[in-house]
Subunit: 386 residues, 4 copies
Amino acid sequence: MILTDSLLDFFIETRKQSETICKPLEIEDYVVQPIVDVSPPKWHLGHTTWFFEEFILKPHAEGYKIFHEDFSFVFNSYYETVGERVVRANRGNLSRPSVEKVYEYRNYVTENIKKLFSDGQSKELNDLLEIGIHHEKQHQELLLTDIKYILGNNPLLPKYSDTFEDHPSETHEQEWISMDEGIYEIGHDSEGFYYDNELGRHKVYLQPYQISNKLVTNKEFLKFLDDGGYQRFDLWHAEGWDWVNQNKIACPLYWHLIDDEWHHYTAKGLQRIPMEAPVTHISYYEAFAYAQWKGLRLPTEFEWEAAQQFFPWGKRWEWTESAYLPYPGYQKADGALGEYNGKFMVNQKVLRGGSVATPEKHTRHSYRNFFHPHLRWQFTGLRLVK
Amino acid sequence: MILTDSLLDFFIETRKQSETICKPLEIEDYVVQPIVDVSPPKWHLGHTTWFFEEFILKPHAEGYKIFHEDFSFVFNSYYETVGERVVRANRGNLSRPSVEKVYEYRNYVTENIKKLFSDGQSKELNDLLEIGIHHEKQHQELLLTDIKYILGNNPLLPKYSDTFEDHPSETHEQEWISMDEGIYEIGHDSEGFYYDNELGRHKVYLQPYQISNKLVTNKEFLKFLDDGGYQRFDLWHAEGWDWVNQNKIACPLYWHLIDDEWHHYTAKGLQRIPMEAPVTHISYYEAFAYAQWKGLRLPTEFEWEAAQQFFPWGKRWEWTESAYLPYPGYQKADGALGEYNGKFMVNQKVLRGGSVATPEKHTRHSYRNFFHPHLRWQFTGLRLVK
Amino acid sequence: MILTDSLLDFFIETRKQSETICKPLEIEDYVVQPIVDVSPPKWHLGHTTWFFEEFILKPHAEGYKIFHEDFSFVFNSYYETVGERVVRANRGNLSRPSVEKVYEYRNYVTENIKKLFSDGQSKELNDLLEIGIHHEKQHQELLLTDIKYILGNNPLLPKYSDTFEDHPSETHEQEWISMDEGIYEIGHDSEGFYYDNELGRHKVYLQPYQISNKLVTNKEFLKFLDDGGYQRFDLWHAEGWDWVNQNKIACPLYWHLIDDEWHHYTAKGLQRIPMEAPVTHISYYEAFAYAQWKGLRLPTEFEWEAAQQFFPWGKRWEWTESAYLPYPGYQKADGALGEYNGKFMVNQKVLRGGSVATPEKHTRHSYRNFFHPHLRWQFTGLRLVK
Amino acid sequence: MILTDSLLDFFIETRKQSETICKPLEIEDYVVQPIVDVSPPKWHLGHTTWFFEEFILKPHAEGYKIFHEDFSFVFNSYYETVGERVVRANRGNLSRPSVEKVYEYRNYVTENIKKLFSDGQSKELNDLLEIGIHHEKQHQELLLTDIKYILGNNPLLPKYSDTFEDHPSETHEQEWISMDEGIYEIGHDSEGFYYDNELGRHKVYLQPYQISNKLVTNKEFLKFLDDGGYQRFDLWHAEGWDWVNQNKIACPLYWHLIDDEWHHYTAKGLQRIPMEAPVTHISYYEAFAYAQWKGLRLPTEFEWEAAQQFFPWGKRWEWTESAYLPYPGYQKADGALGEYNGKFMVNQKVLRGGSVATPEKHTRHSYRNFFHPHLRWQFTGLRLVK
């Protein structure tokens, strides 16, 4: 038996944090799904709970009685191993289980986990618990961005919270950090938690490059916009250009031009755009087009990781030029948990860093996030490389 | 000034009835929209309220202060005259206004209407009020069918109410009523309320026909199903056959085969199918194919109306063979109310009768309902003609 | 044995006529299918031939050897009874059989039919032959309109023929023909050929009406266009308005505004629009909107048929207000030929009259053509009723 | 002036080769486009010609008279710089210009190029000519695969040619080539022709790996199929699994199970599958799933290039695990030619090698082809890595 006091504290604190995030919501806000990429908050609360029930309590807690036999169908996200599930696009069609019932489910599972781990557990179970905690932290990030999408696309533009600052400015001077040509080591290297996609640690050879110590700001991005950047096909990928035209994209998500003044929707409601804050809610296509317009480029994820100790990061997920691919020697886990990362390694772009929505202790310099190139409801930004 | 006591009572009773229908709901049930044809209950409550505000209070109540300036955008259904509106498919994406706020809105508008009409009003305003009341009654029917759809497509199959009987049986003997060849008068002919599409009253010439005094039952429809009716292309319209195959239709909506026993979802939850009750939740395509299989046909709306005094009706909306078209001399109303009926007179089929969801005083023998031929979330059934 | 000399002549003349229509084409023009509603000319030539092979030669010509065993799969249009077939949208994907091979097929089948009927045949076979001839005539009309679509949507706008006049003017004065209220007989009433959808002859009761002796001209329609008719939602059906906006419709098909002068593509190439010719290539939605704009309406098919002896017709297929529905007592034929008409009797509008593309002897006053309301590649026009 | 005799010979030979490829076709085969990825042969012949006219003759040949002013609209592929063009999906809707006219166009442009280059030209023009030649060679590959698709999806399965062998077997023994960890140089390094995407030459660090000297054969792939590989979700990317299910994929393209014997369509018509030949016409998703099933993986493009001198290649385009991304220091060309490669560098996979359809002198070990991961009409195969 391994003592797990601090892990259990970490668990309890994480469970509480998800609920804290949802505190400002009306019950109605828990239910809707305006686009397929966004999940109802209720679903996040249930799904993160189901994860503990499915992978820890059901197989490992003797005599555990599942809370409701249909919840596996409702709250499974994409684990084919585990069985049938509600199609993603239908999550917002489910009025039941009610929010109250989902909170009951949370409490029930939380209590059962506490009981199971109260006297310590095997390394295997501790590892599973740790994955479950990090899984929930990952969903906390999505909870925040999904809530922003739900409220920010409502015609009433309701505010989420007066205390959550989602557009902090960067005030340090812009400088270029020079990096030498040579071999760098990439991938997870410490004692802490990691996902399988951060392994194995390996060498890459980088050509000399210079990387900015600062993210591109709203002010800078506005120049691109004013210069007709959204109308110049030569700056875009062919698929990006199609995306711009089919969706009539002409500015970042949440931007509104009101009486000739640029505003954006924030957690605090509609506000004037802070010019010194990093631009955000842009797709990879927009990040790339901006870099083209500047005559510069995005970093690869390797360039980013090699240089990350020389600049501050964590305010924005940063688009990289890298496609999301396995590292050399990548092995996916056995069973359902093997579906966590590997099966998404095609047609997606790597993001590095973290964002204002990222929970503390959840990010690290080897962390690899990934999204399709057209998505922009995350707090995405960009950093340039020469 | 015309005294409007009874009209005002009718108004108050109608307003109350909409809320009674929603009483069994959880807040979450008010919000979702599983398919584009179904609207969230919250939306129905708001939209019927907006109708009174937009067409009566705003133009006619001196000093009236609108409840919320964005509600016209949120709760307009399709009136192009009135301005921009939320796209129909997005109604279920709106978590706000909250249910509580919508009830506030209802009370506010109800009180203002009561004030405006308390001392009587002009004929013009009384007529508008009557339209608004009937409009709300029409939405009560949709409220019930939309609630059924929302709950009946939830994997938990929650019950709506123990007191609402949505599948009453018909127990009288089946007989054929013979109707003579000749001229019949069709259209609205009494003092009561009517929609513009029931005018003008006109003559039609009917060939001799026999019409059943009974609706087709579940038992009879099951024979069609057991005989492979859903697999025989020769029974279907070409578009019906495409619909069957693309949507893999093999039984009426809400039917489930469980352990070789046919069940269906009802207001009281999942139940065994009552064989003597009229079949329901079928599309026009299915009604037509059933009639083909029997070697019979559906009545035209004229045949139905000419014979309706000779049989009981009102349990099911009955599909007719008639396309929804204007009567001779049809004139649509001026302004926004002119959008009520006329602009839908293409590609739809007429239904006659009424259903278990139809409010009292809302149906009459000249009433013409209409839906696209593939829809089946209404309580639709069929009656045969030789 | 019934003598069939004149029928056989009619057959031979009809077969020849299809080929005459195709004479001006390049081989490449026989192959393409720019939209799903249009079929490649090669397909029409093959399909009309297959009809004779499938329904006459295969079942009735002793010792007949089918030309090619895969041709039934290639040239069946929609007869489910007969078996699998190329999906309609894929007709333009087939480069083989070659045009040359299709002509061989035509000759082979024509010769075999001649042999089979040379000494006369039973009434049953004569009837089948007559249906086959009329079927081919119907396709001749489609051949012409499909060829026009293929050439008229090619960026080079090649001319079809200098001798085919597809926009003759109407020069007589416009007058209103008054028709009395009363009972009229409708449906096929003569000795000649008819389709099952023209039966049974029956009485209808018409209210008094006045019908124009002239089709609406380009000049008149241009006024509607200049008056912003395509931008005024109140003139359109809801579905028509969606169609206008989704397809950015702003004028009839084939119209081009060149240097502020309206031109249209015709069989003779691009030409200035003849103002006194009937407007054509409009959808039912456009016909309806025009009538609304004039404060008038379209005739029903019954009004049209009752009055047709009082005005010239045959230059344009005329949209009516009537939905395509079975007449009282309608019986579809047995077997595959029963799929000819009945299964299309939903969601379509009746057209009456004929057009410049209609072969001689193919139209009659009881003839009912039908198309979906958004289609406009036929020579469609409109006549007004008060 | 630089002498360009051999370049001009190369040009003439290349022009002739495109026409030789089309020699077995019927005129009808030149016209159709069964799927959006496939272009009509006529279009390839015209487009490669237009490339010389647009980029060489129009700007550089004094007094040159363009062949037809609309051909730029018809034959531009995707060069936004050059102006409007026929939407890709509509290429198969164009019956004109006729095949004969396209050959006239080819001769006209070929003769004008010969005249322009007969006495030598500047390095700039020679470079443009070389690009044009390689561009045409690239289209020859597509010509062959597009022709195969056009004929191989025709229900008559016509043969293309008795002399083109598109499924040669590999008979050498399978061995694993061991490659050392270390730095390798990647990218174009010789005097010969290259595309901008092969530059700049740069170092990569590779971990130790073993690469097969042989492509996976039909026999081996059949084992995957027989083992239920197409039904096991755990072997597939999530997007690959969706693709399999939505398109009901159960074997490579062109495979047919006839009387329990696997056949495939080849240039010589339908044949039994040669078991020792490399599997082909598979998507990246299938290649990946096969590798997963074997417990192995695909090479990266760097591993492939580093090892390519140790194994034979050129029979199949080989899917790699690498996403199509710019090399370090990549610079796209100025003007329209800059649209050649760079704008496609997202959501595509790199293929290395060449195929039976690849013209001689057109491939080289630094050549990078790229396709979306679901495509399989190219002669695609796979090689494994441990």
